[in-house]
């Protein structure tokens, strides 16, 4: 199916390779939990993130089941409030933020750079354990009766009125922030200071440009949420009054604090997704990426402009109309670099030799879903239409299209694309493609009807609703169960491939970036010797000649 590349670095003795790789190099649980190897840390992140995704997903199933009928028959209103709060908090803080950078990013970043590890391996491990520690708080909250503030923790509800373990949740999110900062810091330094000889900025795979832009946001924005949550913890315990109107504070100020982080963090979720798609679309249409510099530059632009637009979450908060108009205008600005990416991807497909495999299916699925998610964002960025759509299911559908459809579909794409490299096994393409259709249809059936319900005025965060919306909500619930089923099938065939899968060749996709130059799965130190980067990451023609 694909040509073997001339492999200079991984196999000095030819193809009679010993079976020592990063997975079986050392044994025992301690060799994993205390490893400094970025690949093992990446795998541990992936496992943990997917576990939390399962927890958050099961809560979502519960929410959808409740909404199958207009009556609040399955759960009480209080339980429902706790469910959507925990669903949001788990999905945002534990799943989406670290989803791609900490798991896939950790695994492939040094490989793509031709390095033995990230710049600070101990910090990398620390960041993982800080993540586990912070996650522990959220899990404890879950067991300890939950919390009902919504994942946004708006004051004064969160500071004065909310019941449940608000402080525990806040502490958990506070700690998780540091994990995110340290990962970002590590990646920036690694990309800056540790590239293979010959690997100039213009020869950097676009995944790395995306991870770089992501890391910049993580380092700059996350400390602000840290101080926000810190102040809110004190607001809750001591009622210090900075955000609490009854003590003379300003609740809208809290929203500024919160969204100064929480808007850029949307790009922490979705920029790595853009990176993944830039890789897969080029590799699987076997054509040089269209507009390399434009895509790379747009990642950095999105990261920078992403800091200027947080107030579009606050059009109806009582924020000044002047500042609202400024935020609205700048928000439209973000559409430009995002559109540049979309056009470049589609132009890459043009006259490419497209491989219709699972990875390509998910890549195109991502583009479709993100297109809908992005375009509906324009409605919400317009102040006048936002008055109508704010806090309706339109918003819910929009951010699920960009965050879940965007990030999650890209994560699935990435897992499939790098699965052979991570595990050394090939998954079953046929069942992969069938599952894609199940997932794609299920996904769209879940969230597209929510746009309709939203424009008709169905508010979010209610566990009962008027019967007019029943048909849309039922379609959505059915879709969500199809989507959930498809994810379980995916888990099934991927695990099956671990044991029964065909052994993967070193470079099953015929890609040219450095991570495919090493053994599959990679050896513990990634490369024998230091690889030299002689060609760009998307120069496929040369491979054709070798083949």
């Amino acid at each position: 199916m694909s040509p073997q590349t001339a492999n200079t670095y991984a196999h000095p003795e030819g193809d009679l390779t010993p079976e020592v790789n990063y997975i079986n190099a050392t044994k025992g649980i301690k060799s994993w939990l205390l490893t400094l190897d970025h690949k093992r840390i990446g795998i541990m992140y992936l496992g943990t993130i997917l576990s939390f995704f399962l927890v958050g997903g099961l809560i979502a199933m519960g929410i959808r089941a409740e909404l199958f009928t207009p009556e609040g028959d399955l759960f009480t209103a209080a339980t429902y409030n706790k469910m959507f709060t925990l669903h949001g908090a788990i999905m945002v803080f534990l799943v989406l933020v670290p989803a791609i950078p900490a798991s896939i990013g950790n695994f492939i970043l040094p490989l793509m750079l031709g390095q033995k590890d990230v710049a600070f391996p101990k910090l990398n491990l620390a960041s993982f354990w800080i993540y586990i520690f912070g996650a522990g708080f959220l899990v404890f909250t879950l067991i300890n009766g939950g919390v009902d503030t919504g994942w946004t923790f708006y004051t004064p509800y969160s500071s004065d009125h909310a019941s449940g373990s608000v402080v525990l949740t806040l502490t958990g999110a506070f700690i998780l922030g540091f994990s995110s900062i340290l990962t970002g810091l590590n990646f920036i330094v690694t990309i800056h200071k540790m590239r293979a000889p010959g690997q100039t900025w213009r020869k950097l795979p676009l995944m790395l440009w995306a991870l770089y832009a992501t890391s910049v946001i993580q380092v700059l924005a996350t400390p602000v949420i840290a101080i926000t949550l810190f102040l809110l913890i004190f607001e809750r315990i001591l009622q210090i009054g900075i955000f609490d109107p009854s003590m003379g504070g300003d609740p809208v100020l809290f929203q500024h604090f919160f969204w100064f982080y929480s808007h850029p963090v949307v790009y922490v979720m979705v920029l790595p997704a853009f990176g993944v798609i830039s890789e897969t679309i080029s590799v699987h249409s076997r054509k040089h990426i269209f507009g390399y510099m434009a895509i790379a530059g747009s990642s950095v632009t999105i990261a920078a402009v992403g800091f200027l637009i947080w107030g579009h979450h606050m059009f109806l908060s009582g924020q000044s109309e002047l500042q609202g108009a400024i935020f609205s205008f700048l928000t439209f600005g973000v559409a430009v670099p995002t559109a540049i990416k979309n056009f470049s991807w589609i132009a890459t497909l043009w006259k490419g030799s497209i491989r219709w495999n699972t990875v390509m299916f998910y890549t195109l699925g991502f583009i479709w879903i993100f297109l809908i998610g992005g375009l509906t964002g324009l409605f919400l960025a317009t102040m006048a239409t936002d008055v109508h759509l704010h806090d309706t299911y339109f918003v819910v559908a929009h951010f699920h299209y960009v965050m879940m459809g965007g990030t999650l579909f890209a994560l699935i794409t990435a897992i499939h694309h790098w699965w052979p490299k991570m595990t050394g096994k090939m998954f079953n393409e046929t069942i992969g493609k069938i599952t894609f259709w199940l997932a794609f249809i299920g996904y769209n059936l879940t969230f597209f009807p929510q746009f309709v319900a939203g424009t008709q005025g169905m508010p979010r965060r209610y566990h009962q609703y008027v019967p007019e919306f029943e048909v849309w909500m039922q379609a959505s619930t059915i879709g969500s169960f199809i989507f959930g089923l498809s994810l379980f099938i995916m888990l099934g065939y991927l695990i099956h491939s671990l044991f029964k899968g065909v052994k993967a060749p070193h470079n099953p996709w015929g890609a040219v970036s450095l991570e495919w130059e090493t053994a599959t799965p990679p050896i513990e130190h990634n490369f024998h010797g230091l690889p030299v980067c002689t060609k760009g990451p998307y120069d496929f023609d040369e491979i054709e000649e070798v083949a």
Binding site: P121, I188, I242, D250, H525
Partner: protein
């Protein structure tokens, strides 16, 4: 570290302070330095939130900030603390220089002076805090300074000033305490002779951290103690 792998046996003459995944010491030092600056940037933005709280609350309650600060914060104590931190910054910078030049005999005393000055700073802070707590000048609902009617409490809001004061100086004080711990650890390493001209990155980084703590105090001092 992982350098015990059998594959690369030719590493015997490698610098013992060089981690296995770096090519040379220069690359390692360069990376560590950049990492530290990024860490300082996140520290700045962390404090940025506190400064934002200060600016907005001062905008809402300009009179309160003037009156409360004038009445209850002693600029002389603030000034002494400023001088203590500036001096400790100097000794820290000199300690980094001593480490870079391998002057072991200077290193430990300079670090010790830095730590002592930091303890002096915290001592004065402790004195100020206990004084305020005694007077009931506490943040939020714990405020018991002067009896205010409900309307006055909302319009004058002295509790907000003390919230901002305690949050800003508290978070800064926490950083000073962490700094004292780090300097103590440096002294321990230095007495074992592990910090020298080949391995001074750690001293350098603690130095940068310490200067940042000083730099933030340079802004806190006039904002809290000198408002008129």
């Amino acid at each position: 570290m992982n350098a015990n792998e059998g594959g690369a046996a030719a590493n015997a003459d490698r610098n013992p302070y060089l981690a296995h995944h770096f090519m040379d010491k220069f690359q390692q030092d360069d990376a560590v330095k950049m990492g530290m600056w990024l860490f300082l940037v996140q520290e700045l933005l962390f404090f940025g939130g506190l400064f934002m709280a200060y600016i907005s609350m001062r905008f809402y309650y300009p009179e309160t900030f003037l009156q409360e600060a004038m009445a209850h914060l002693d600029w002389r104590l603030g000034a002494i603390n400023t001088i203590a931190l500036l001096t400790s910054s100097l000794t820290m910078a000199l300690a980094v220089r001593a480490a870079q030049q391998g002057k072991q005999k200077q290193l430990v005393p300079l670090l010790a002076v830095t730590a002592v000055l930091a303890v002096v700073f915290m001592g004065i802070k402790y004195f100020e805090y206990s004084h305020k707590i005694h007077d009931g000048l506490m943040p939020g609902i714990f405020y018991a300074g002067e009896s205010l009617s409900a309307v006055e409490a909302v319009n004058h809001a002295p509790q907000i000033f003390f919230s901002v004061y305690f949050m800003m100086t508290g978070v800064h004080g926490l950083h000073v305490l962490i700094g004292i711990g780090l300097i103590g650890y440096l002294m321990w390493r230095a007495t074992k002779g592990e910090l020298n001209e080949d391995n001074y990155s750690f001293v350098d980084n603690v130095g940068l951290y310490w200067h940042l703590v000083d730099l933030i105090w340079i802004f806190l001092f006039p904002l809290l103690y000198l408002v008129k």
